[in-house]
Amino acid sequence: MIATSAERTAAPSPGDGGGPMVSLEGVRFAYGDGGFALGIERLTIARGEHVACIGPSGTGKTTLVNLIAGIVVPSAGRVTLDGAVISALADDERRAARIATIGMVFQQFELLDYLSTLENVLLPYHVSSRLVLDDNVQRRALDLVEATGIGHALERRPAQLSQGERQRVALCRALVTQPRLVICDEPTGNLDPDTAGTTLDLLFEQVRRGGATLLMVTHDHGLLDRFDRTVDMRELAAP
């Protein structure tokens, strides 16, 4: 069943600090060229909730993700991430909040072609002074790649991996920081159905194991049963 109400929220995860993981209120955003504009009156995603975001191309799914991640800021309204009003933070603070709180999986995987599998997985630790790469992190990364079935390809470059393996590397990279929110932008868009299914199984298993919140942009309506809730951009976006 597809729940389309933006107002519906799941119960907070046990042990969290209370309050939603994500909330948008009265948000207005327009790109500088005056083309696409998005308005969202209210959207709340509870901690631990698994939410699918659907809608035709051009309805603002990626813009919604960018607003939540603090990649772009609204011209009006308020975006709250993990209790912090991310839309009010300076650029550096938004970046710091993003790398500490969110794990992102992209449709095109976005792996660095000159790094090995393990180095790609550990990339957030290589590019952030706020994250400390220690033995525990190394062990966690190795556990993740083993759990996702790419333990045999630790030293391989992305060019030496299959599409499914690349997406699993991207998945491990998103999860290695133990994010409280995992955002996936059409993560199975470039995968065949079998590989997509396996990848999603792994994603849900790892997200559930970490107790993270999941927001996934997808065009595949066949996946929606696996989510607690679905947000349809056609209904969410204000005219």
């Binding site: 991640a69 990649i71 650029d91 550096d92 938004r94 970046r95 710091a96 909040a97 993003r98 790398i99 500490a100 969110i102 992102m104 992209f106 976005e110 660095l112 072609d113 000159y114 790094l115 180095e119 990339l123 957030p124 630790y125 290589h126 590019v127 952030s128 002074s129 790469l133 470059r157």
Partner: protein
């Protein structure tokens, strides 16, 4: 920072061909002017040091640069020889005149005919054996001894002047009496004999059997004072204690040739007088080697100024090339930077990623250029000396 360096290194290594080309371009544009500068300064220092040890130099009229360089670096001279009588004239009244005869070679190495005073002037001492004290002795420069694998007691032949002309003197077998200590000058690359030995090699002086003992068939004519013998008479090609007394000159002393004469005047006034006297003659000249080297280096430095201008243009071209590469690289890596941006990587870290790679490439380039300049300073002067 460790992570940024790792990423920069991985990126540079992943695109190692492009990195190598870029590194080579930068290294070459730094190396060329720097090495030229080092080489010229090194060359100037060497030339000047040797010139400073040679107060005055007399020789035939002609190019003063040729005279100076031929005499200081033992190049086979194209200048007319000067007679030994001039040596006698210069070495009077307490002034020291040292002969230099540089016309022949032994296994390709210049044979320098001189007198024992030459070694005193240069402060040269024998590392083994003795300096050439006897007719037919030869002392080797340090590099020559090492290259030819010769030591005291061995034999060294002068190079045959004309292989198929029996009227020319035969190659002289010389006894190695010693090896000079290395001094990093042209002396290392020459062999030294007494000037009389040089005249033996030239055929002006020779030794053979007593005329009385010569086969009558080889006698062409006889007077009360002289005996003319055929060219077929075999001359000694080695000077030994047994035959040394038979060696004799066939020319008057004023006809014995020298390449140049080093003059060490007893004081400045004597030097001025000698210069005035010699330069007044139509056939000879006397030069102050330091002044000649100064003039030569001034010419070299004028050329270097032109070369420096070209080097500057090359450096600017390289800089523009590097800028182009960086701009293209930023364009090619836009997707990668967008990913880092979306992950939450700070702008400063992105800037550090680019900067680290530029610093890495520039650092390696400078290190390579530095190593190249060091190697050039270490080995090229020897190469130039050989040339």
């Amino acid at each position: 920072m460790k992570g940024v360096l790792l990423l920069s290194w991985r990126h540079a290594w992943h695109h190692r061909k492009a990195t190598l080309i870029l590194t080579a371009c930068i290294a070459l544009s730094v190396f060329l002017p720097a090495a030229t500068d080092v080489l010229i300064r090194d060359y100037q220092r060497d030339l000047m040091a040797r010139a400073q040890g040679t107060p005055l130099l007399a020789g035939a009229k002609g190019n003063r640069f040729d005279l100076t360089l031929d005499a200081l670096y033992f190049r086979a001279s194209a200048l007319e020889p000067i007679p030994a009588s001039e040596l006698d004239a210069l070495g009077t009244a307490g002034d020291l005149a040292i002969p230099l005869h540089v016309r022949f070679t032994a296994r390709g190495v210049p044979i320098v005919g001189t007198s024992p005073e030459y070694f005193e002037l240069r402060g040269a001492a024998a590392a083994e054996g003795t300096l050439p004290m006897r007719l037919g002795d030869v002392v080797l420069g340090a590099t020559v001894a090492e290259r030819l694998g010769l030591s005291t007691g061995d034999a060294l032949f002068s190079d045959q002047q004309e292989l198929y002309d029996i009227s020319r003197p035969p190659a002289l077998k010389m006894r190695v009496s010693g090896v000079l200590a290395p001094c990093s000058t042209a002396d290392d690359d020459a062999v030294f004999v007494d000037v009389k030995t040089a005249w033996v090699i030239e055929g002006i002086s020779h030794g053979h059997d007593e005329a009385a003992a010569v086969d009558e068939a080889l006698l062409i004519g006889r007077t009360e004072e002289t005996v003319r013998v055929s060219r077929a008479l075999i001359e000694y090609n080695e000077i030994t204690p047994e035959n040394i007394d038979s060696f004799h000159l066939h020319e008057a002393r004023e006809l014995l040739p020298l390449t140049a004469v080093i003059v060490v005047p007893r004081d400045d006034k004597a030097g001025t007088l000698i210069k005035a006297r010699v330069n007044a003659s139509a056939a000879y000249q006397i030069v102050v080697p330091t002044a000649v080297i100064d003039d030569l280096m001034a010419f070299v430095f004028r050329l270097k100024t032109v070369f420096d201008t070209f080097s500057t243009v090359l450096a600017v071209s390289t800089l523009l090339l590097v800028l182009l590469v960086v701009m293209l690289s930023m364009r090619l890596r836009a997707g990668e930077m967008r990913t880092l941006d979306h992950m939450g990587c700070s702008r400063f870290t992105v800037a550090k990623l680019y900067a680290a790679e530029i610093v890495l490439v520039c650092g390696v380039s400078l290190a390579l250029a530095g190593a190249g300049v060091w190697a050039a300073g270490r080995w090229l002067p020897d190469l130039v000396r050989l040339v």
